[in-house]
Symmetry: C2
Subunit: 410 residues, 2 copies
């Protein structure tokens, strides 16, 4: 432990420097059990702070049952969930076992995950592959089409990506973010530029792959989201555990509660109730009554300073999340009040550096909770995505953290 | 001229052999004036058989005026069209000057085109680059957004593609079609697999390109259509001018008339009235009263034997063109009655070779006009695409050709 730190501002600066220095590169695609001891031991993991199956929102519970059935853990979803309830199948939040997953974020041992590494620190993190849009597991869809796609991803897509990475070498996620933020991505809702550029980088290794592999990537504009997530997760892990630092290191939603983690307090979760997204832009045929509360680990992107905190970069994301695109520069400017730092390399269209990290104490003081660009799941299982919008983690969680900080810090 | 041919069936077999032997590869992207003498002389070209501006359908006329304004030919669209009317700007059908263009198919001298070459014969053909969907020139949209995109394609996209082709070498279109037809493309309405695979092939040459370049390709599922068109055009040009052969070498629509060309009769057009598409699947908010009649050179894909003639390959294309996807194998089987041959390499999902070319005499005899999967333009200028559907070239055109064939051939 670094004992030279004396003030929160020094500690914050130290953790922001570590965040700025992180250079995550994708080194492999492996079954989760090969990178995570929890999954190697037969465990399963979920998005957000800890939650037991009986308390899960219906989309997460449906995803849990479906994923474990595909894993062969039991004959039916209900039997599989019972094994989790009894503790026979260990359950952990993704963040507690080194990774992140979008929306329900259910990850089982055979599920392929991106593995990112930061060479300077030797740290790694993981995130599953993006399934595409519509009826997909992470949004709580659990039909045979969903399981068939997951099996194809495991048996065809993941091995092809592994071969591609072997041929092309590591994928530089820092460089891809610098470029994507200049071309209309904010790296959460809008990830089309990152998707195209990551495909370009992997392409020389995909020439002999099943033609369905590059098509699956090219036709899925959200493909890069999971790479933005593993990038943000690993970079923030590099900035963890700086004594006294109020740098936010995670925002994670399980559909019932939202948890945050802070650098100076390590793996401790501070939680509050999950809000309903708003503003929101729902697909035709759905109403606000269909929405599930805030869900998924993808808010790790905002924790880094991208997504809703970099909305200035993407008129398209602003529109699709229910904002007036003309407001986007003013929003990012206002959010600098809770910024921990500014990126020297990832620039917004106005030439300013993107926000780099969030100061959890500033959030508590300004009462300005960081916005998150989120997908919105139907509250019933089996449906899938019904729109996108903006959510905020509960100030209660930030207050709980702030209460631990000696008042002399103020 | 090959004087060893004695019967239509021998002549047909000879032309089909030439069609089967064609191996178009993309060798460059250049301004049209660098590959076409007509465009080098200040000319402009359009889809379909010959037509004068005063007879053009509104979408084509709007595209003509907008393209010439961008070219700097005149200050306004009306002034530019007047220069065409007066003959000061020469006008030709694309097919008459070595190329093809989708929908309105307007091509000016500075507009970038794919250049394909068949190494064995030394023949070349060209087709402009795909603009994407929505409000685009080829569907008759002519606003500032349309011109801005075209300028970007000319100034950024085309040079990047040229650099990419220099780095990666020629793009093998025959090989891409073999793969795309196994992965859900029929190569006219559904071209997502070809799009992804062509991006994969070009990607090693795009690593230093503006990030907007790979994104433009990856987010445009119709990108490959123009490559399928230049492939089909060049392959069919390789099978032209075989004395006595009834092999169809072009189906082309100008929105008022549809023209066909046949191998044995060279560049002669046989024309009839352009039909309304039907069945059709229109975007929400449009009705059949909004449809423009049959438009574009893209029917060259069906002339080769793909698109609607290979509908068995694509449930998605069948659905989006207004068919019941379950009928798709029966449709392709029935269409073998007008097939000139069968591809030895491009296979349908049932393992049979795709139709290779159309026998124009068989069309006249069976009264079965080849279907075409077509995009549908709004009949008014400035709108763009309103749906997709199926059209048929007029039997009158085939009858006009058949009337020239000595009755002893029957």
């Amino acid at each position: 432990m670094d004992t030279t730190l004396h003030t929160p501002s020094e500690a914050l600066a130290d953790s922001v420097a570590k965040l700025a220095a992180a250079r995550p590169v994708v080194i492999d695609v492996v079954p989760a059990r090969e990178i995570s001891a929890h999954h190697a031991a037969g465990g399963v993991s979920h998005a957000g702070p800890p939650i037991v199956p009986s308390k899960m929102c219906p989309p997460m519970r449906a995803a849990l049952g479906a994923a474990l059935t595909l894993e062969g853990a039991a004959g039916t979803a209900e039997e599989a969930i019972a094994l989790v309830e009894s503790g026979d199948i260990p359950l952990q939040p993704n963040h507690n076992v080194g990774g992140v997953g979008p929306m329900s974020g259910i990850v089982t041992g055979s599920m392929p995950v991106w593995v990112a590494k930061d060479e300077a620190t030797g740290k790694t993190a993981w995130c599953p592959l993006n399934e595409g849009s519509g009826r997909v597991l992470r949004y709580g869809a659990d039909g045979p089409d969903v399981l068939e796609r997951l099996a194809w991803m495991r048996d065809v897509l993941a091995p092809a990506l592994r071969v591609a990475l072997e041929k092309t070498g590591p994928l530089d996620l820092y460089d891809l973010h610098i470029k994507a933020l200049t071309d209309g991505d904010e790296a959460h809702h809008r990830t089309e530029s990152g998707t195209a550029m990551s495909l370009v980088k992997l392409a020389p290794g995909l020439e002999d792959a099943d033609p369905a592999v590059p098509r699956f990537i090219a036709t899925n504009g959200q493909w890069f989201l999971n790479l933005a997530m593993v990038f943000s997760k690993l970079a923030l892990d590099c900035a963890r555990d700086v004594p006294g630092s109020p740098l936010l290191t995670a925002i994670a939603r399980n559909g019932v509660e939202v948890g945050i983690q802070v650098s100076g307090t390590g793996d401790q979760w501070f939680v509050g109730p999950a809000a309903m997204p708003g503003p929101a832009r729902l697909f035709a045929g759905y109403t606000e009554a269909d929405m599930n509360p805030d869900l998924g680990d993808s808010a790790i992107v905002e924790t880094y300073g991208l997504g809703a905190l970099a909305v200035a970069a993407s008129a398209e994301a602003a529109y699709n999340c229910g904002l007036d695109p003309e407001d986007r520069f003013a929003i990012t400017t206002e959010l600098r009040k809770i910024a921990a730092g500014e990126s020297p390399d990832i620039l917004l269209p106005n030439g300013k550096g993107a926000i780099l990290g969030v100061d959890a104490l500033a959030v508590a003081e300004t009462r300005m909770s960081p916005p998150v660009h989120t997908g919105i799941a139907h509250k019933q299982p089996g449906v899938g995505q019904i729109g996108a919008g903006i959510t905020h983690p509960p100030l209660q969680a930030f207050d709980e953290y702030a209460a631990l900080v000696p008042t002399s810090a103020a």
